[in-house]
């Protein structure tokens, strides 16, 4: 068994809000093998962005890791002092932000921003940094001449490429990308996805892609983790998880997703909404919306159970997955 590059055990992240404490991430167990491109899928409020920020160590002021361990390549990140943890940032683990207008500092040219990490965090001389910056830009499909430009002079797709170049600057062991292609046009999105795929292969990159878009995960990621209400509910090779989902939530997602090919089946929305994490329910957190719910689901939280090698789901009825899947494809199942 290959040791995972990243191993997360029982991680919890708590926010202090006006209404009290909320555990946006509440007991996450996750393993990312070296060289894997992991897709972290979930809808709004599931905690995936919080999880990504916790891994990076850039949680906002009112949030903290309340329990659990994060082990990156053998190093327990939580046990490090703040200074040591900061030393790892961008060198061992880096971050591609959402393609917002303001993810890159608007007052500095790209060249300056590249130098900031290459010289400041990477000990390269200015000249060496500029050469490397040019190489990185080319690797992501940007003309090195554009290093002279300011971020606002880039189009959305180009800005994403620049952000990716920045993230790869110090050869990190792990890259975390937060919705890297949302908000991009279809054709540009495809180009960026292809570039990421190619880079992943060329550089043997290990990456986590946080997204709500299953199709992007299907295109790009080798491993998939499905997140719901602060916990991972299913994990496994992408092909398996998408073709043979074992958790009812994943089944629901697959049925809610319109496809461009195949019959125009009736889409089935998942009625209801995720639980309020101020007062999380006992037992399975999907129970209130699950068409296959049984009494045990509301009393005991289902332990992650293997359905296939390296593929597990947190559901009491995992053994009947095949039958449930068949039922799940019918829209009637999802109407309460």
């Amino acid at each position: 068994m290959t040791t995972a590059l990243l191993s997360v055990s029982d991680l919890a992240v708590t926010y202090r809000t006006q209404a009290g404490l909320v555990a946006a991430v509440d007991g996450v167990n996750l393993e990312v093998p070296a060289g894997a491109m992991l897709g972290l899928v979930g809808e709004s409020g599931c905690g995936k962005t919080t999880l990504a920020r916790a891994l990076m160590g850039v949680l906002p002021g009112n949030a903290r890791v309340s329990r659990g361990r994060i082990v990156l390549d053998g190093t327990d990140l939580q046990a490090l002092s703040a200074a040591k943890r900061r030393a790892l940032l961008w060198r061992d683990i880096s971050f591609v932000p959402q393609s917002s207008m303001n993810s890159l500092d608007p007052v500095y040219r790209m060249r300056t921003q590249m130098r900031e990490v290459l010289c400041g965090r990477g000990d390269l001389s200015r000249g060496a940094a500029d050469t490397r910056a040019a190489d990185l830009f080319q690797a992501v499909g940007l003309n090195p001449v554009r290093l002279n430009d300011f971020p606002h002079q880039f189009s959305g797709g180009m800005r994403q490429r620049a952000a990716i170049a920045l993230a790869l600057a110090l050869h990190p062991k792990l890259v975390i990308a937060d919705e890297p292609v949302t908000a991009l046009d279809v054709i540009v999105q495809r180009q960026v996805l292809d570039m990421l795929r190619r880079l992943g292969e060329d550089m043997n990159l290990t990456a986590i892609f946080v997204t709500h878009d299953i199709a992007v995960v299907a295109y790009l990621c080798t491993v998939t983790a499905v997140m719901y209400a602060g916990r991972i509910v299913e994990y496994g090779p992408t092909a398996d998880v998408l073709a043979r989902p074992a958790h009812p939530y994943t089944m629901g997602l697959m049925n809610a997703f319109p496809d461009l090919e195949g019959p125009t089946q009736d889409l089935a929305p998942i009625e209801g909404s995720p639980p309020d994490l101020h007062t999380p329910p006992t037992g399975c957190r999907f129970a209130a919306r699950c068409p296959f719910v049984q009494p045990v689901c509301t009393t005991t939280y289902p332990a992650p159970t293997d359905v296939a090698p390296d593929h597990w789901a947190a559901c009491h009825r995992v053994g009947e997955a095949e039958t449930l899947r068949a039922q799940a494809t019918e829209a009637a199942t999802w109407q309460s």
């Binding site: 940032l89 961008w90 971050f95 959402q98 965090r121 952000a163």
Partner: protein, 292 residues
């Protein structure tokens, strides 16, 4: 446009209030004396005629003679201007030196006592009229502690109190702008990226947050200098400093029209100029405003 409007308005208003002839001749002058003086000074002509005549001469640099001092207005202004400008520049410097660091601190310690204290100071500074502040400072530091002179500019210490009073015209606004600019910057996506890069906190605050937050503050300080110069009228009078502000107060009180016109024109030109400077500075600092 601004200058012209200001001029026309002030011309009309100053003529409408007060009667210069009475000031010159004395309170119990006879009607004929007043009429005679009015005719001499050309004040009995129709208003538009007076204005056009004045504007014509002003365009050639001739601002006429002060009715009260019997000196050329332009040389009067030349004498009084340097003091006011010096005072104004010192005041804006004080304002920046006080407002910016405290604004940053208030933002970094958002919600704590520091932030609250800074907020109170800003509010007080805005609410307290400058003449009251000036008089209080004179009482405490000048009369009470006798640390600083109470009037005049005999030496450099004379600049201290008036520039503090003037600075308080600008401090509340700049304090709040710095604070909110920094709060926004620290929450921004690019600061989050900077944190993720593992940069030291000082680096993040100074190079990223401050650099972004400062742009509007610097631009606004040029305009604030304009307000400070306006505040110099009251402050110079309180501290008995013979600057353009003092000149303005005197001439308004006595109805010395040529001086009033010239001073008003001066202030409006300065204000418009500072606004333009503010725009230019803003564009220089913010690459997004530069255009292609």
């Amino acid at each position: 446009m601004v200058c012209l409007t200001v001029l026309i308005l002030s011309f009309g208003l100053s003529r409408a209030s007060g009667n210069l002839a009475i000031s010159i001749a004395g309170a119990d002058a006879s009607a004929e004396d007043i009429a005679k003086i009015n005719h001499e000074l050309g004040l009995d002509r129709p208003l538009p005629v007076q204005f056009v005549d004045w504007a014509n001469r002003a365009a050639h640099g001739d601002f006429g003679e002060s009715f009260l001092f019997h000196e050329k207005v332009s040389s009067l202004i030349e004498e009084h201007l340097p003091v006011t400008i010096t005072l104004g520049l010192i005041a804006i410097a004080v304002a920046v030196v006080v407002a910016v660091p405290f604004g940053i601190l208030a933002a970094l310690y958002e919600g704590t006592y520091i932030d609250v204290a800074v907020g109170v100071v800003a509010l007080a500074g805005q609410a307290i009229p400058s003449f009251w502040l000036g008089l209080m400072l004179i009482l405490w530091f000048g009369v009470g502690l006798q640390w600083l002179p109470i009037a005049g500019l005999d030496d450099w210490t004379g600049y201290i109190l008036p520039s503090i009073v003037l600075a308080f015209v600008a401090i509340p606004v700049m304090l709040r702008m710095t604070r909110s600019g920094m709060v926004d910057a620290m929450r921004s996506d690019y600061v989050r990226t900077a944190r993720a890069k593992g940069l030291a906190r000082i680096s993040i605050v100074a190079k990223h947050a401050l650099r972004n937050a400062a742009m509007p503050v610097v631009a606004v300080s040029a305009v604030q200098l304009g307000f400070i110069l306006g505040g110099s009228v009251v402050t110079e009078v309180v501290f008995n400093i013979r600057g353009v502000g003092y000149l303005a107060w005197e001439s308004i009180g006595k109805g010395d029209f040529p001086v009033i016109q010239a001073v008003v024109l001066l202030f409006s030109i300065i204000f418009v100029g500072l606004t333009l400077l503010s725009d230019l500075v803003g564009a220089a600092l913010d690459p997004r405003l530069r255009g292609r």
